[in-house]
């Protein structure tokens, strides 16, 4: 066989092997994550419960993220109002601003932006923390000492993220509405009571409930992905950075995927 044909053949072989190896590792990763997911629910309902750790994690995820979420929410409401006003003003429909902003914040922007901020702040934090615990063999030590590291580390963090995210979204929505009120009053003069009565007039439970369910799922995804990436981290200190990075990237991607699915499901159920 000529030399050039041999080199083409060997490069094809390498490519095929690479694809097979990559697919295999993706499938193994998916299977591992499914096991991790099932184990989370099993450990969640099985006593004993790590209440103290759960409270501590709730404080870290909830209270510590409030400032960031609040500032982002305020700016979001303000900017959205300022940007929307000229278009509505063209139709003489400026009085629709509060209703339009409230529906878009409660239904979509509030939950997604809050989840993305938490994916960045909380997700990377959990991923890096758990990965360093793995690298420094703290998780192994816990296993050897007979305690259940999964329950202590994963269940507490994921449950805290799952419960704190809807609460953070409520804060974010409220602050965004206030930001919108400020935005409306920059060029106009709308009474506080009128603004909020107009904002709530167009809202219904079909806007609020799907949004809260969605944010619970976002919290579950952020917690589970970050814990999974950190818990099974390897490659030493390099793995810590990789776990933090992967936690943010995969969580953010899954937030958008869950969002589109949630919109379709809620529209199907409501209609």
């Amino acid at each position: 066989m000529p030399k050039s044909k041999v080199s083409i053949y060997s490069s094809y072989q390498k490519l095929t092997e690479g694809i097979i190896h990559r697919s295999r590792s993706i499938l193994i990763g998916l299977a591992d994550f499914s096991m991790f997911f099932i184990r989370y629910f099993k450990e969640l309902i099985r006593p004993p419960y790590e209440i103290n750790e759960f409270v501590k994690q709730s404080y870290l995820i909830g209270n510590q993220s409030l400032a960031l979420v609040g500032i982002t929410g305020f700016i979001m409401g303000l900017v959205l109002t300022i940007q929307t006003r000229p278009t509505l003003a063209e139709f003489g429909a400026e009085s629709w601003l509060p209703a339009m902003i409230s529906v878009s914040i409660v239904r979509e922007i509030g939950p997604v932006i809050t989840a993305l901020i938490c994916a960045g702040k909380v997700g990377s934090g959990i991923g890096a923390e758990l990965a360093s615990m793995r690298v420094t063999e703290q998780i192994d030590a816990m296993e050897v000492s007979g305690s259940n590291p999964f329950k202590f580390i994963v269940v507490s963090r994921t449950t805290a993220a799952m419960l704190m995210l809807p609460l953070l979204t409520i804060y974010s929505d409220a602050i965004s509405m206030f930001g919108s009120f400020v935005g409306v009053n920059i060029k106009g003069d709308v009474n506080f009571r009128l603004f909020f009565s107009q904002a709530f007039a167009q809202l219904s439970f079909t806007d609020l409930i799907p949004a809260l369910i969605k944010t619970t799922l976002f919290g579950l995804v952020i917690g589970l992905i970050s814990c999974y990436k950190g818990y099974y981290s390897d490659k030493g200190t390099e793995g810590v950075g990789q776990a933090a990075n992967a936690s943010v990237v995969i969580s953010s991607l899954l937030i958008f995927i869950i969002d589109i699915l949630a919109v379709q499901v809620s529209n199907f159920i409501i209609d």
């Binding site: 709730s58 404080y59 909830g62 209270n63 139709f91 409520i170 709530f200 809202l203 219904s204 609020l208």
Partner: protein, 229 residues
């Protein structure tokens, strides 16, 4: 340990405030949907609901007093609309009240306006039916406009034909405007009429001076002078 309990207190405050905001929001949303107020139900049957939807507002004297609870088709020409209305507004609505479908501004949602009915009428009761007024729909306006434009097209067609005939010198007016011979004839006729009138004036003057008719003209002049006095 102390730091831990402070954190727990902070978390507690965070939870309480968050849940209070949720509770307040839930209350206001519920209130706008009449969930927390006492309501009564009345019905109306429309031929055409004009895009009215479940949840649309009901207005009475410009105030929002309720919402559309359900819409059911009874037959091909009648649609039943069920409304829930605040109980405290019940006393103002009479049995002969009427409902009409309108819209909230040019681009707004459809709304159902209730006209109060006669002052001496009986107050409406739970599950009563109220009459309806057929609204002028946008489609009807368009239909009318289409008829008008059809008529306008016919009229402009006729006008175009008439102006074409005039331009081509057809008909009396066409000849008047366009035919030079006709114009000359008219000119000649006018000249003849003028000559005739002059001759007639001369004859009349001669008649006034004639012996037979002088008395008659003098009598006429005297009668006119008398009238003036």
């Amino acid at each position: 340990m102390e730091k831990e309990s402070i954190n727990k207190i902070k978390l507690g405050i965070f939870l309480v405030i968050g849940l209070s905001i949720l509770g307040t929001g839930t209350y206001f949303i519920g209130e706008s949907n009449q969930l927390f107020s006492s309501t009564f139900r009345i019905h109306s049957v429309f031929k055409d609901i004009n895009g009215l939807q479940v949840g649309n507002s009901i207005r009475f004297a410009g105030m929002t007093i309720g919402s559309i609870e359900s819409i059911n088709m009874l037959s091909d020409t009648s649609v039943q609309v069920d409304m829930v209305i605040d109980t405290d507004k019940m006393q103002f609505i009479k049995k002969d009240a009427t409902a009409i479908i309108g819209s909230d501004g040019l681009m707004g949602n459809k709304i159902l306006n209730i006209n109060p009915g006669s002052i001496s009428g009986k107050i409406i009761e739970e599950e009563d039916f109220i009459g309806t007024i057929i609204p002028v729909s946008f489609d009807n306006i368009i239909q009318q406009l289409s008829k008008t434009s059809e008529n306008a097209a016919l009229i402009t067609g006729d006008l175009a034909m008439i102006s074409g005939n005039i331009k081509n010198g057809k008909g009396t007016i066409g000849k008047l405007f366009m035919d030079s011979v006709f114009a000359e004839n008219i000119n000649g006729t006018i000249v003849n009429v003028k000559d005739g009138a002059e001759s007639f004036t001369q004859n009349m003057n001669a008649a006034k001076k004639s012996i037979f008719l002088r008395g008659l003209f003098k009598k006429k002049t005297r009668a006119e002078d008398k009238k003036k006095k």
